[in-house]
């Protein structure tokens, strides 16, 4: 009896053991956290902290920032778990750990959920539960609202989903002050308004990829011309919004200059994208807008960081 049950059960157990055997290296698990996105999360959250006057202990601030980073990484991991099927057919994402077969989907799910729960609880214990609740909402919004719902159902996916990527400064401000103020809301609005021109510029270049994966990005649904027009509209809104910190008094002289010059740069490139619609020049200028949009956002936030973090703040008014 025992031999018979062994012979029936053993092959199944063995195949499960083989199927469940992780092929992933530490670097593969790290890649699941989307390190580049995580850097952006840390960077924008850090700026959210430094523009908010508080007397929180530096170690508490550091651990809060670390937990916001881990929460951001966890949502990236859960996004990769959910999107493994479409990642496999897009050249940009086919080498990610799950489609490459290095990490099992179940492993990624467990990893992402563990990090999500852990980061929210630790942030709540270390700083406050408002910040923890906002971090939990950010993860929920990115994974459930954006990845599971919007991404495959509407061309407005990255517009609404962009809120998740814009929330870190608000979470960070809540972590060090215990409340949410206008300055972090303005930083949220800048990232939120920056997201459509940034991603649609990439989508214009990679529309074939998105088409193959069946993702309704704006160029595939509304067409490249409509996308170019919408990029221009969002950039026209973004450029003055980028200067709002100056008006509100937390962007100094250096920030005023950078945001003015950068805003004009964004507008000039968006106009070029709108005008050039055919062939290689159209693709090249869309690529340039994508690249410049990263530099623009980086410079805005880096300037605020330098002004507030290193004592270089010189008010423009008064």
């Amino acid at each position: 009896m025992s031999t018979m049950s062994n012979s029936l059960v053993q092959p199944q157990v063995e195949s499960l053991a083989t199927a469940g055997l992780s092929q992933g290296d530490v670097s593969d698990f790290f890649a699941l956290l989307k390190p580049r996105v995580m850097f952006l999360v840390v960077f924008t959250a850090l700026v959210g902290m430094v523009v908010s006057p508080s007397n929180v202990h530096p170690i508490v601030a550091f651990v809060s920032l670390l937990m916001i980073a881990v929460g951001g990484g966890a949502s990236g991991c859960l996004n990769m778990w959910w999107d493994a099927d479409i990642d496999a057919v897009m050249t940009r994402t086919a080498k990610r750990p799950i489609p490459a077969g290095k990490i099992q989907p179940g492993e990624a799910l467990a990893f992402g959920v563990t990090l999500s729960v852990g980061s929210v609880i630790i942030l709540g214990l270390v700083s406050n539960w408002l910040a923890a609740g906002l971090l939990a909402f950010t993860i929920f919004f990115y994974v459930v609202v954006y990845s599971m719902w919007l991404k495959r159902s509407t061309p407005q996916n990255i517009v609404i989903g962009g809120a998740a990527g814009a929330l870190p400064p608000i979470v960070a401000q809540a972590a060090v002050t215990g409340h949410v103020a206008w300055d972090s809301v303005v930083l949220f609005a800048i990232i939120f308004m920056w997201t459509p021109p940034h991603f649609w510029a990439l989508a214009l270049v990679k529309s074939g990829d998105y088409q193959r994966a069946g993702i309704p990005m704006m160029p595939n649904v509304a067409g490249p011309d409509s996308t170019r027009f919408q990029i221009l509209v969002y950039t026209i809104l973004l450029a003055p919004l980028g200067m709002a910190p100056v008006v509100l008094g937390f962007g100094g002289l250096a920030y005023a200059i950078i945001s003015l010059v950068g805003g004009f740069g964004m507008l000039a490139l968006a106009l070029q994208v709108y005008r050039l619609r055919e062939g290689e020049p159209a693709m090249r200028v869309a690529q340039q807008l994508f690249g410049f949009s990263i530099l623009y956002l980086f410079l805005l936030f880096a300037t605020l960081l330098v002004e507030h973090g290193f004592g270089f703040f010189r008010p423009v008014f008064g």
Binding site: S22, H57, V63
Partner: protein, 53 residues
């Protein structure tokens, strides 16, 4: 039994990867312990260690 068999079937490369995962997990746990200690001291002050038994 099944566990032993799956161990036997690990290639040197798989063993190396598993070892690196285990080390990373141990490192993470160590960092967490340190983090909780440091945060406790930062939030409650060094006086937290001088309590009447």
């Amino acid at each position: 039994m099944a566990d032993r068999k799956s161990h036997q079937s690990l290639t040197p490369e798989e063993q190396k990867r598993r070892r690196s995962r285990s080390l990373a997990l141990a490192f993470t746990l160590g960092v967490l312990v340190l983090l909780f200690y440091v945060v406790t001291i930062a939030k409650l002050g060094p006086g937290v260690l001088q309590r009447p038994m």
